[in-house]
Amino acid sequence: MRVFTTMIYREMKRFIRSKARVIGSLINPVIWLVLFGKGWAGAFNFPGASMIFGGVDYMTYLVPGIVAMTVFNMSFIQGITIIWDKQFGFIKEILVAPASRGEAILGRITGGAIMAMIQGVIILALSFFIASGLKLSGVLPALALSFLVGLAVAGMGVAIAMRMSSMEGFQMIMTMIMLPMTFLSGAFYPVKTMPEWMQWLAKVNPLTYAVDGSRYYLAGVSPAFSLRTDWTVLTGLALLFMGIAVVEFRKATID
């Protein structure tokens, strides 16, 4: 356990040290929330509009999506930045240590997921000031779902990064993976009114289940899938991606 907790400690220290980066990364979801959210909230302010969004106003509908998106983005970045560790040599430190590599990488992933969740909590706290229909009682289960997404996605980031040899593909991966997964998650609009092919893509997107579940807990919108499905899929994916990351990391040598 010592290596596991040490890696979480390291993530925490790095998180605290890079205040500028943390604040910078919070600006993005705030812009979505305020500019995108308030903009559409005005447009959807006609009688019956709330029927589109499961009976709540658009801001309340949007918040769980933005929170899940924040955790998703941050944990993916946390995971994939292991490529920096690879480039700046910290990985070598771990690889020559008489420590369990699996434990080390799980600590790295968990640390990343926790830091991403803290950013999700900040966004959620701000949301209570601008969306009226949020339920305080839903905060904990929604965050638990976010944490699972965080684990899955940080694990996915690590697995991808272990196969990358340089930072060159980084920008492309961000655009190719993060943007489509965000739009296909139902964070901004309901999955069930999407064209059918998009619905299919949405269903294989882990973020969809986090948005679906936390929207139920935070906004009271009845879930498109069952809650059990949401929890099962996310737990399964978290285990799957962490497993892949462990396997990839155990094999790791240096070039």
Binding site: R2, V96, T253
Partner: protein
């Protein structure tokens, strides 16, 4: 156990390229052993195999009595390493870097705190302990890495080009630490370097490596004896090809340098120089300039390979070519 490192016929390939071509050597307990050779000779690759980071393609390697392939964990427990490229957490402070390393190696609490304090004082970084490493100079980072590598009291310490890119004063400073480590902790130190003075200053024994092979091994004095005792440089007035080397039995080796001078290896320069003048006169050649010196390790390398150790090649130029190719692709 007499030997800290025992390597037999070690081979390491990267695809078609063979970086280490079947080397064998032994490092005794408590000595400083240096791999000396130009960039791309296979020194770092060997270190990475010995530190369990790379799997060899052939041969055996035992470090601290354990097989690096079969018992990597046992090896890892007993070694420390300072990598050629920095491997510090730049965002974190010196103390935090030490602390994380200590925790990973199973230390904690007051014991760990005291060790960190003692080692940071040893490398004279204690007053900077709370400063993020990104504000450290190259020399300070190196010192921190040395302190960190000592934290878990390794039996064998690997130093891969410990003073590369540092200014002369800082290098001398780092050498002092390395000597002090050997004296105080009775540690076996394996270092790689392409600086001849570094190998000469620090190492009890030196293996000269070139193109993946060990081409000579011994103490600095033993290696220099390969050349002969002295090295003479002659500049002559337009000598004909055949007479450049002034063939005589007291000349043990001869090489024409790129600048036109002729390099002669002799037993004793003081006795040889008058003889050379006689010889030159016989052959009708005028000597314009004579210099001589005791052989250096560079002379040894030149004697063995026909190249100077400072010649750039291998790794570095390959890396440049790869970089260029990448730029073009963009």
């Amino acid at each position: 156990m007499e030997y800290a490192v025992e390597v037999e016929n070690l081979v390491k390939k990267y695809g078609d390229f063979t970086a280490v071509r079947g080397i064998s050597f032994r490092v005794r307990r408590g000595e400083i052993f240096a791999f000396l050779g130009p960039n791309g000779a296979g020194k770092t690759t060997t270190v990475h195999v010995l530190t369990t980071l790379l799997k060899p393609n052939g041969g055996t390697a035992f470090v601290a009595g354990h097989d690096v392939v079969r018992e990597p964990m046992e090896v890892r427990r007993r070694i420390g390493i300072v990598f050629q490229d920095p491997s510090l957490d730049r965002e974190l402070t010196a103390y935090e870097n030490m602390y994380i390393h200590g925790r990973i190696y199973g230390y904690s609490g007051e014991g760990l705190r005291k060790k960190i304090e003692r080692l940071l004082k040893f490398v004279e970084l204690w007053e900077f302990k709370d400063r993020p490493v990104k504000f450290f100079s190259g020399g300070m980072q190196r010192r921190l890495e040395i302190a960190r590598s000592l934290l878990h009291e390794p039996e064998i310490l690997f130093l891969d080009e410990p003073t590369i890119g540092l200014d002369p004063q800082t290098r001398a400073h780092i050498w002092e630490y390395i000597r002090a480590m050997k004296e105080e902790q009775d540690m076996t130190i394996f270092l790689t370097t392409h600086y001849m003075d570094e190998a000469e200053q620090l190492a009890d024994r030196i293996a000269i490596m070139d193109y993946g092979r060990i081409i000579a091994e011994g103490t600095a004095d033993e290696l220099k004896k390969l050349v002969g005792n002295d090295v003479i440089y002659l500049r002559m007035e337009e000598p004909e090809e055949g007479v450049k080397c002034l063939n005589a039995d007291f000349i043990r080796g001869c090489k024409v340098m790129p600048d036109g001078r002729v390099r002669l290896d002799v037993q004793n320069a003081g006795e040889a120089v008058p003889k050379l003048f006689e010889l030159a006169q016989e052959k009708g050649v005028r000597i314009l300039e004579v210099t001589y010196h005791r052989p250096t390790l560079n002379d040894v390398f030149l004697h063995l390979t026909g190249r100077e150790i400072r010649d750039e090649g291998g790794e570095q130029s390959t890396a440049r070519m790869i970089m260029r190719a990448r730029m073009r692709r963009r």
